[in-house]
């Protein structure tokens, strides 16, 4: 099973305009579940379409395995793709939809029928083969689209937000199923989504994109724990990471972040810096470096509670506290940061401490 390698891939739609994708290099090793995540309009779908061969890159190269496929039409790339809206052929029934790729590849009819049936059974849509797409539910259409991709046994799967048209319950279920399927088939996957939850739960490798550029490529947990930039830090995690402006200076011989909260850091000196703190690393309670803040909102979620506080300088932050936690609004509480989890970003939004990799 080959992997996917993108080498300085760029795409510019208008000659004069800004690039939709700028010199993007990325490698999804063989058998990995790569997720390309980013806000809408960041160019991730364009990347996927360039990998698929539906869009010609303005420059750069695409490799599948060791073969360069930049100039090859989609049909010669040995890939399968599941579209956001599934793109089922409305004039063909389910069986013909699934079997279309085999027919195009001139697989013998009997063989094709057997494979279609097998894949359909394995996805639990065996009883729908004679139906027309218009008469299927959203979840069923999604499965047909999946079956259509799987049946060809391609080297690479491409997914373009395949779950976004499903309701929440089926989405969670399908997520798990897709992962299981991928592990089982061992096929390399490039999966595009704007949903960080999907990225975190499904990926073995997450690539975060912003405005046509790659911000970070790493394992999901690493992206969460050591985001390469403020953008990544903010994009991943819910509620979003707390961003507190301040500066890094030497106070009494120790290097410290000074802002609404003060904390000892190892960052270089910075006139403008942003302290990034995940809500679960914001501690409510008396500690040595605690700062007073006012509670503005308390959200009880059951297993945990989100406490929104406001500092003197009117900056706000959220703390995640385990269990039920009761505080009156307006109460003044001491707030501090666990120094082991404090992240400092420089003025450009790049991670300054604990150090980028």
């Amino acid at each position: 099973m080959p992997g996917i390698t993108l080498d300085r891939l760029s795409k510019r739609f208008d000659a004069g305009g800004s690039p939709a994708v700028a010199a993007l290099s990325l490698e999804i090793p063989e058998g990995q579940f790569g997720v390309l995540v980013g806000p809408s309009g960041c160019g991730k779908t364009t990347v996927l379409r360039m990998v698929a061969g539906l869009e010609a890159p303005s420059s750069g190269r695409v490799f599948i395995g060791r073969h360069e496929v930049t100039e090859l039409p989609p049909r010669d790339r040995d890939i399968a793709m599941v579209f956001q809206n599934y793109a089922l052929y409305p004039h063909l029934n389910v069986s013909e939809n699934i079997g279309f790729g085999l027919r195009m590849r001139r697989v013998a009819a009997a063989d094709a029928a057997r494979r279609v049936r097998m894949v359909a059974e394995s996805l639990g849509i065996g009883q729908l083969l004679a139906r027309m797409p218009a008469h299927l539910s959203g979840g069923q259409r999604q499965r047909v689209a999946l079956a259509r991709a799987i049946v060809r046994e391609p080297a690479v799967f491409l997914f373009d937000e395949p779950l976004s048209n499903l309701d929440a319950q089926i989405r969670a279920q399908t997520r798990a199923e897709l992962v299981r399927l991928q592990r089982q088939l061992g096929t390399t996957v490039l999966y595009v989504t704007h949903d960080q939850v999907e990225a975190m739960t499904m990926a073995t490798r997450v690539a975060v994109m912003n405005a046509g550029r790659l911000e970070q490529v790493a394992a999901p947990l690493e992206v969460y724990q050591a985001p390469a930039s403020l953008f990544v830090a903010s994009f991943v995690g819910s509620p979003s990471i707390n961003r507190l402006p301040g500066r890094v200076s030497d106070v009494d011989g120790t290097r410290r972040f000074v802002g609404p909260l003060a904390v000892a850091v190892g960052a270089p000196l910075l006139e403008a810096a942003i302290l990034g703190v995940r809500p679960e690393h914001l501690v409510i309670g008396e500690t040595a470096e605690a700062t007073k803040a006012t509670v503005v909102l308390v959200e009880s979620l059951g297993p945990e509670t989100l406490v929104h506080v406001r500092f003197d300088g009117s900056e706000e932050a959220v703390a995640r506290v385990a269990g039920a936690y009761s505080l009156p609004i307006g109460a003044v509480v001491p707030v501090s940061v666990d120094p082991r989890h404090a992240l400092v970003f420089d003025g450009m939004g790049q991670l300054a401490w604990p150090g980028t990799r």
Binding site: P74, R75, M81, F83, N85, A87, L88, P90, R105, R152
Partner: protein
């Protein structure tokens, strides 16, 4: 919700009434035609004109249709229409698809050229076209008759607009599925464009059926004439037999109406397109 149902029912009824009224207004001149076709030759010259014939003269129809070899005319028209429909649908769909879907060198220039072709009054092209067809040995042959009609810029333009309105995802899916560009066109785009194709076929048929000057000029013998020329024949320079002409004109309408009713189910029942963005 009963109130809403009643209101919407009333609205539906109103719309239906409006539809019927509109259709009737549109039909009025035709009814007059029908009425004239049943008059005797002197009744049509009465002033003021009678709305309905005193006694319908049904034999106008057999008499008009046997005054000339109309059977032969209908066959000729059908042949012309068949070639025209096949030619225009095939070339119109292919070219319209190319203009709507492909980014290629020379696209806008070529499209401007196609559009330009619509802007030339056909009457001044008659002589050069005739000379070309004559040079190719096509005068007074079926090939010469249909040759100029096989492609029409109108149909290309129409198909382009239709394809522009169609979603592309299915085509992309087919490309991923391993279809060549022709397979995408044939297996996916064409079936999805069925309403458009039916419309185009209908219009091509009508165009061919109604065409008059070119068939008249490029054919010679009576045996090669088409229906429309036959209809016009009752209206000579000096002698006009209007009841006959109307009878022939009404008869000539029948095939078009039949084709219309046949193609209607395609352009009034779109394909249920799934998963739109």
């Amino acid at each position: 919700m009963p109130r809403k149902t009643a209101a919407s029912g009333l609205l539906q009824l109103g719309a239906s009434a409006a539809a019927v009224a509109f259709a009737l207004v549109m039909l009025l001149p035709f009814l007059w035609m029908l009425s004239t076709s049943l008059m005797n030759e002197f009744e049509v010259f009465s002033y003021p004109p009678p709305l309905v014939p005193a006694s319908p003269r049904w034999q106008n129809y057999p008499e008009a249709l046997s005054a000339m070899p109309f059977g032969r005319f209908f066959v000729n028209s059908a042949v012309l229409a068949l070639f025209t429909v096949v030619g225009q649908v095939a070339t119109g769909a292919a070219a319209g698809y190319a203009f709507a879907r492909f980014q290629f060198a020379g696209r806008s220039a070529l499209f401007a050229g196609y559009l330009g072709a619509l802007m030339v009054p056909a009457i001044v092209l008659l002589i050069p076209r005739f000379l070309i067809v004559d040079a190719l040995g096509g005068v007074d042959t079926v090939a010469g008759l249909v040759s100029t009609e096989l492609v029409s810029a109108w149909s290309v333009f129409m198909m382009r607009q239709f394809f522009l309105a169609l979603p592309r995802d299915m085509e992309d899916a087919a490309r991923i599925d391993g279809a060549s560009e022709w397979a995408v066109f044939w297996h996916i785009a064409l079936p999805l464009a069925r309403p458009a194709l039916a419309t185009l076929a209908l219009f091509a048929f009508i165009d061919a059926w109604k065409s008059f000057l070119w068939p008249l000029v490029v054919t010679r013998s009576m045996e090669q004439r088409v229906v429309e020329v036959g209809v016009a024949s009752f209206h000579g320079l000096y002698y006009a037999n209007w009841p006959y002409q109307m009878a022939a004109a009404v008869t000539a309408l029948v095939p078009i109406i039949v084709v219309f009713l046949l193609t209607q189910r395609y352009f009034t029942r779109g394909i249920a397109l799934t998963g739109f963005k």
